[in-house]
């Protein structure tokens, strides 16, 4: 029983991290039909910005409790500066091209941004571990967990619920859903699709940067941080169904719990279990668990 509790808690913590990292990817795909590999770069940029800005402010006497706000602010800064730059500066000229070409373009941008990160921050690791231990810890089933993990879960819930509320309850969200369903008709109805594109891309990037910023206190921030994340994020959104918000949530929970159970009960299978789950889902539901049916255009 004790081990089962640990499986669930570890699974939820990992799911929360995965969901924050992956949800922006599915949002951007849903609206713009772009498989955005630069998502990993935004994750890494968020982590680097959070580690360097929070570290600098703490060194200048900032009260440690403010570091959580600085983590969020750092992610916001990255998204607002880099997101529109990439979307307006490069991607908007590519929308007429095939999805595969855009995928390659975002991959090229990912490689460029990796080098930009090295140019700015170098290759030495950055640490900002203060926020991780600041809130103490709690004990469950004879195991100690930093309370910070609850913040990760909270951030994931806020991101998911906020997105769902925006899409279903606000005028902007409803317009966005219209854009998701049919760009051409949306344009014909007077919706400023270009504005939705830049806002969506920036918001999706913000979610990735938040993922990186809130992960930074638990890892050493090093070059290549975004590579692993982009692979896992793709697995999550493919399981859930590309472009589906509930799919991303369910995909993250499935992957998190399966991985956690495997580590506890069959650790030798950890390496491939996530991709095994993905293969099984795709074998029976090739477009993912929550794939959206598409109307055939005549």
């Amino acid at each position: 029983m004790q081990e089962l509790v640990a499986v669930v808690i570890d699974g939820i913590i990992y799911s929360a991290w995965l969901f924050i990292a992956a949800v922006g990817l599915t949002l951007i795909y849903g609206v713009m039909k772009i498989i955005n590999v630069t998502h990993g770069s935004f994750y890494a940029l968020g982590a680097y910005a959070a580690a360097s800005i929070t570290g600098a402010l703490l060194a200048h006497g900032m009260p440690p409790m403010l570091s959580y706000a600085v983590l969020l602010g750092s992610a916001l800064l990255v998204a607002i500066v880099v997101g529109p730059l990439i979307e307006r500066g490069i991607l908007r000229f590519m929308y007429v091209k095939d999805e595969v070409v855009i995928l390659l373009i975002t991959y090229a941008l990912f490689l460029i941004l990796e080098d930009v990160i090295k140019l700015i921050w170098g290759v030495d690791p950055y640490y900002i571990s203060e926020p991780y231990g600041l809130l103490g810890s709690f004990d469950v089933a004879d195991l100690t967990y930093p309370t910070y993990n609850l913040i990760l879960v909270g951030v994931a819930i806020v991101c998911g619920a906020g997105l769902a509320w925006t899409l279903t309850k606000t005028r902007t969200g409803k317009l966005l859903v219209a854009v998701i369903h049919d760009t051409e008709v949306s344009r014909a109805m007077g919706i400023n699709v270009d504005r939705f594109y830049v806002v969506t891309f920036t918001f999706g990037s913000l979610l990735a940067a938040i993922g990186g910023a809130f992960t930074a206190p638990t890892v050493s921030v090093v070059p290549g941080l975004g590579v692993e994340v982009i692979v896992l994020s793709f697995a999550v959104v493919v399981i859930g169904g590309l472009g589906s918000l509930p799919g991303a949530a369910l995909g993250a929970v499935i992957v998190g719990l399966v991985r956690s159970a495997t580590i506890h009960y069959l650790p030798q299978a950890e390496l491939f279990v996530i991709y095994f789950v993905m293969a099984m889902v795709l074998a029976f539901r090739p477009r993912g668990l929550f794939s959206i049916a598409e109307a055939r255009k005549i």
Binding site: D10, Y14, P125, Y127, D142, Y145, V219, V222, I263
Partner: protein, 424 residues
């Protein structure tokens, strides 16, 4: 007609004299491969590259202490072609081919990852290019086949694992249960395999609670740490390195893992200063040999550590020591071959013959190329536990193990040697 032939032959001979003179002094192009990007760059690749830069510069200037005080390699300057090790084995094989076939390097020194070494060794043999591995640890390279062109100047993971097991015996003789968390590829698997076998020999009846094998560069270890905490193992072994080691320390510390069990970090030396505040007293730290805090108090070490710290502001870690060791080993072999060749520039085969079974000194002491039919080095090793003194990280309870005690004899596989009860 014969006169004309003689004339042409004489002219050709005259033209060849300056060419030979140039060949004798021509720079020796050396490919140096180390992680310059990715998670392994900061803690391993960059310190190793920094060590290479110092060694190339100082050797070319003849400023290295005895017995390496001569300039260059037998008088010829060393010229570095630096390559990034990141990108995976396929990329590395391509880069290696580029170094050999496009850049025409005379030899290659490099490789931190065991995956890289396993991929490069057969290609080096195919291209017939002298290649010196400076850091990678998997014992499989010379266990699985013989190589003519490949050398490794650092000990294998067997040394780390057997040394760690001997240290556990000294530190916790009543340990009943062990657990492991190691990266799921050659280095992690071999490290854990050897450690588990060695523990069973040294403390018969010891049990394995769990062996965790997360993916390389996974970064998130909450579930693994929970399993290790639940296991209540007396001793936890980890050969984590690079950013994974640092992430593990950052995540395991607040969860009390270091207090609940004795944790052995076989490559912990690379993180012990940077993460001093996060590593409590009593964690067992390895440095993959007598490097860093375990390095001997000799002139070469004093010179190397002072020169490195003067230039880069931090002491050299074991990756830096191992790079310096590989370069000095190459210099020793080259100059031995040159001396045997009457002072003329040696051929690659002559350098290889000189390198085989060579014994040379490095900042870490004596290195003996006795294994792998003279291609694999053995060195002693040391372990100790962390202890903060006045807020500074130090190593306490240091124990040293001679090379022959922690390395198998030549021709015997590590696992067989351990299972035999370490018989010579």
């Amino acid at each position: 007609m014969q006169g004309i032939r003689k004339l042409i032959a004489s002219a050709a001979a005259l033209l060849c004299v300056p060419a030979l003179a140039i060949a004798q002094d021509a720079p020796i192009k050396i490919g140096v491969v180390s992680f310059l990007s990715g998670p392994a760059a900061g803690p391993f690749g960059v310190p190793a590259r920094n060590a290479a830069e110092i060694m190339f510069e100082m050797i070319n200037a003849g400023k290295v202490p005895a017995p390496y005080a001569t300039k260059g390699l037998g008088g010829a300057k060393m010229q570095m072609s630096l390559v990034d090790e990141s990108g995976g084995t396929t990329t590395q094989v391509t880069e290696f081919r580029n170094l050999v076939q496009r850049d025409n390097v005379d030899l290659v020194i490099g490789y931190i990852s065991s995956g890289s070494c396993l991929g490069i060794a057969p290609v080096a043999e195919e291209l017939k290019k002298l290649t010196v591995f400076f850091d990678c640890g998997t014992p499989r390279i010379f266990e699985e086949r013989d190589y003519k062109y490949v050398f490794r100047t650092a000990s294998t993971a067997t040394m780390d694992s057997v040394g760690a097991a001997l240290y556990v015996k000294d530190l916790k003789p009543n340990a009943k249960m062990i657990a492991g968390v190691n990266q799921n590829y050659a280095w992690g698997q071999d490290s854990w395999g050897d450690f588990e076998l060695a523990m069973q020999q040294i403390i018969p009846g010891i049990k394995v609670a769990t062996s965790q094998m997360p993916k390389l560069f996974a970064g998130q270890y909450n579930a693994e740490i929970s399993t290790l905490l639940s296991s209540k193992a007396d001793v936890i072994h980890s050969s984590f390195w690079d950013g994974d080691l640092e992430a593990f320390i950052l995540q395991a510390g607040p969860r009390g893992l270091f207090k609940r069990s004795t944790v052995i970090l076989t490559t912990g030396e690379t993180a012990m200063y940077k993460l001093a505040a996060k590593i409590p007293d009593g964690v067992v730290i390895g440095a993959r040999g007598p490097y860093g805090p375990y390095a001997p108090d000799n002139e070469l070490n004093k010179w190397f550590s002072a020169t490195f710290e003067d230039r880069y502001g931090v002491p050299p870690n074991y990756a830096a020591y191992q790079m310096a060791q590989a370069i000095l080993g190459t210099k020793a072999a080259w100059e031995k071959a040159q001396a045997a060749n009457g002072g003329k520039r040696p051929s690659q085969d002559q350098v290889i013959a000189a390198f085989e079974n060579l014994t040379f000194v490095s900042p870490a002491g004596e290195v003996k190329m006795t294994n792998g039919k003279g291609h694999q080095a053995i060195t002693g090793t040391a372990y100790g536990v962390t202890k903060k003194v006045g807020g500074k990280m130090t190593i306490d309870k240091i124990k040293r193990y001679p090379a022959e005690k922690v390395n198998p004899p030549d021709g015997v596989k590590a696992a067989d040697w351990i299972k035999s009860g370490f018989k010579k």
